[in-house]
Amino acid sequence: MRINDRVFGMLMLILAVAYGWEATQFPIPFGGHESVGPETFPIMLSIILGISSIYMIVRPDPDEAWAPVPMLLELSVVVLSMLAFAWAIEPIGFMPAAALVVSFLSWRMGASVVKSLITGVTSSVVIFFLFNNVLELALPLGLLEF
């Protein structure tokens, strides 16, 4: 199967065209047109990307297998958990958020529930104190502030 490269090449071709078109729409800089403006370099790039994506569509490499659907779902859950961590770090605080995400990750990587909880809690507490007290980089306390 050589689908991956074809699809990816197609997406990149669209990107190249959109990017190149956008570059031609830049407002004319103050002081009028010069021989090289802000659009020159981007247009060159869009041509290079266009050529290489056409090559990719015409002569695709063999596919590397994608993970099966359940694994892809699991990876999406992991990505979501990291986004949730990013969101939670300020309102909830570094320690609880980090403990949760590290435990979750290590559980998903195959550690037992108890061991992953221990890993999560210890690492987040150690890193918090290391950063706040030794390296003096303040991390948000969040809910634990009171």
Partner: protein, 506 residues
């Protein structure tokens, strides 16, 4: 003579207690990072950059720290090659060939010690080479004008895939993507907004450190999950070290040859550490094989190890003197320099002489530290290596995110990091190399600036890009670098594969 006195001043910087402390910390962290499979040197340095940055270390200290990490990672790569038969990074692959058989025969400790000595010789000789060659090259590079620089940047991208590169168009595509990301933000010379979609956060462009950590570290985590590699691998037990002076003398010639070859491979564009260790191994096999290579010959351990460490130091020559890195890890070191507001290139040796020479001297010190650390303390590193990735990877991810977060205390940076991680996962699935993307983001602004300077000076005449002998030469090399791998690449790859397979049969 001038070089000597500058180097002595460098040692004065490198031998202060503070510098030695950072060299030791860097060496230990680096060895650990290199030893963990899947967490290569580029990754490790990338995770540490935001930390060094937000700790407010001085440029000299952060560079000493990170070059020691770099050197340490090269040392560490061999530990997993020898004990697990899995290279920690690509250049360490050739060390597996004789290192693992030695370990299986119950000589793991000897293999580790010999490779540590060979690594030391490799780095030491290559650092001497760096001291000699770098100032000459820097002086030469002062003659470069904007059009030569533009050609040089093109050369860097063209040769980045290396002689073993699989699909040159994918390298080109990756470079274009990286350069495109670099154009996002307010244009420096005209103030026009480009691709910002009126989003305030994009006005300053996309921070390459976030991109590096996301592309490397987060995508690695996703791959670990996918492969169910959380449990780690079985390693060979380590024995008690019995190493005589005779054994060391026996591997000296192999190490010396490997070091020199590695250095040359490291300096040349497009060769890099993988090729350095490969050439060193094959040459050594040709010179001194009596049917023992591939079955645990100590010289087969020493030569590629000296080669890849030599190449690692050699790769610093183009990075420091021209501002054009030749490998992923040196690209990450370049990111460090740029974010410290130091522009590498020929002027670096004049404007920041004490910094450059301090770092070079620190490399000598760091190497000595690494040798001293690696022989007695190898047991500790081996213990740490046996912590399964299912505990380690989440913690590494956490440290990476903390680093990113503490640069500007913004959760948005973390979203970007995760986004780049997902992108990196997809890129790796379709075999788009990540290093040209990073390099594109790093070199983009400079490359565009030199194009514009050249064209403004010539009043829009594009032929200015090819009007000096020097720039024509650079373009020629660039085109060769792009075309040669298509012809030679399959042959070299087949050879590397063959030598790897011949070992598996034994």
């Amino acid at each position: 003579m001038d070089t000597m006195s500058l180097l002595m001043q460098g040692f004065a910087v490198a031998l202060t207690p503070e510098s030695i402390m950072f060299a030791v910390i860097g060496a230990i962290l680096g060895t650990l990072i290199g030893a963990l499979p899947g967490l290569g040197p580029a990754n490790g340095v990338a995770i540490l950059i935001p930390l060094a940055f937000s700790l407010g270390l001085s440029p000299t200290s952060s560079l000493i720290l990170l070059t020691s990490v770099y050197a340490g990672a090269m040392y560490g790569g061999r530990i997993s090659s020898i004990l697990l038969n899995i290279p920690g990074d690509e250049p360490a692959m050739m060390t597996c060939l004789d290192g693992y058989p030695m370990a299986v025969k119950g000589k793991a400790a000897e293999a580790l010690a010999i490779s540590a000595i060979a690594s030391f010789i490799g780095s030491f000789i290559a650092t001497i080479g760096l001291v000699i060659l770098a100032p000459i090259l820097a002086k030469f590079a002062l003659r470069f004008g904007p059009s030569e620089y533009f050609a040089l940047f093109a050369l860097a991208f063209a040769t980045l895939g290396g002689i073993t590169g699989k699909n040159q168009f994918k390298t080109l595509m990756a470079a274009a993507i990286g350069l495109m990301i670099a154009t996002v933000g307010i244009d420096i010379s005209t103030g026009v907004q480009r691709f910002t979609f009126n989003t305030l956060e994009l006005f300053e462009g996309v921070d390459f450190i976030i991109a590096i950590v996301g592309l490397f570290a987060i995508s690695e985590l996703l791959f670990f999950l996918e492969r169910h590699a959380g449990d780690g691998l079985k390693q060979v037990a380590i024995n008690k070290l019995k190493l005589s002076a005779k054994d060391i003398i026996k591997v000296l010639p192999a190490s010396l040859r490997g070091a020199v070859l590695g250095f040359v491979a490291g300096v040349l564009p497009g060769a890099g550490a993988s090729l350095g260790s490969f050439i060193s191994y094959t040459l050594e096999k040709r010179v001194s094989d009596k049917g023992e290579f591939g079955k645990g010959d100590p010289r087969g351990v020493a030569a590629p190890e000296a080669g890849n460490n030599g190449a690692a130091s050699g790769a610093l020559v183009p990075m420091l003197t021209l501002g054009v890195p030749g490998s992923g890890t040196t690209a990450v070191l370049l990111a460090m320099l740029i974010s410290l507001n130091i522009s590498p290139g020929p002027m670096l040796f004049q404007q920041n002489a004490d910094l450059v020479w301090g770092v070079i001297a620190a490399m000598f010190v760091g190497n000595l530290v690494l040798l001293l650390l690696n022989i007695p303390m190898v047991g500790i590193f081996v213990k740490l290596l046996s912590i399964p990735p299912k505990y380690l990877m989440p913690i590494v991810t956490l440290i990476a995110s903390v680093g990113i977060y503490s640069v500007s205390h913004s959760a948005l940076d973390l979203y970007f990091m995760v986004g780049f991680g997902v992108a990196g996962y997809i890129f790796r699935k379709v075999d788009i190399p990540l290093v040209p993307i990073i390099l594109g983001m790093l070199l983009g602004p400079e490359m565009e600036k030199s194009l514009r300077h050249a064209l403004v000076l010539s009043d829009g005449d594009w032929s200015v890009l090819f009007n000096s002998g020097l720039s024509i030469g650079l373009w020629t090399v660039a085109i060769l670098g792009l075309v040669l791998p298509i012809i030679v690449g399959p042959i070299v790859r087949a050879k590397m594969k063959k030598s790897k397979e011949s070992v598996k049969d034994v």
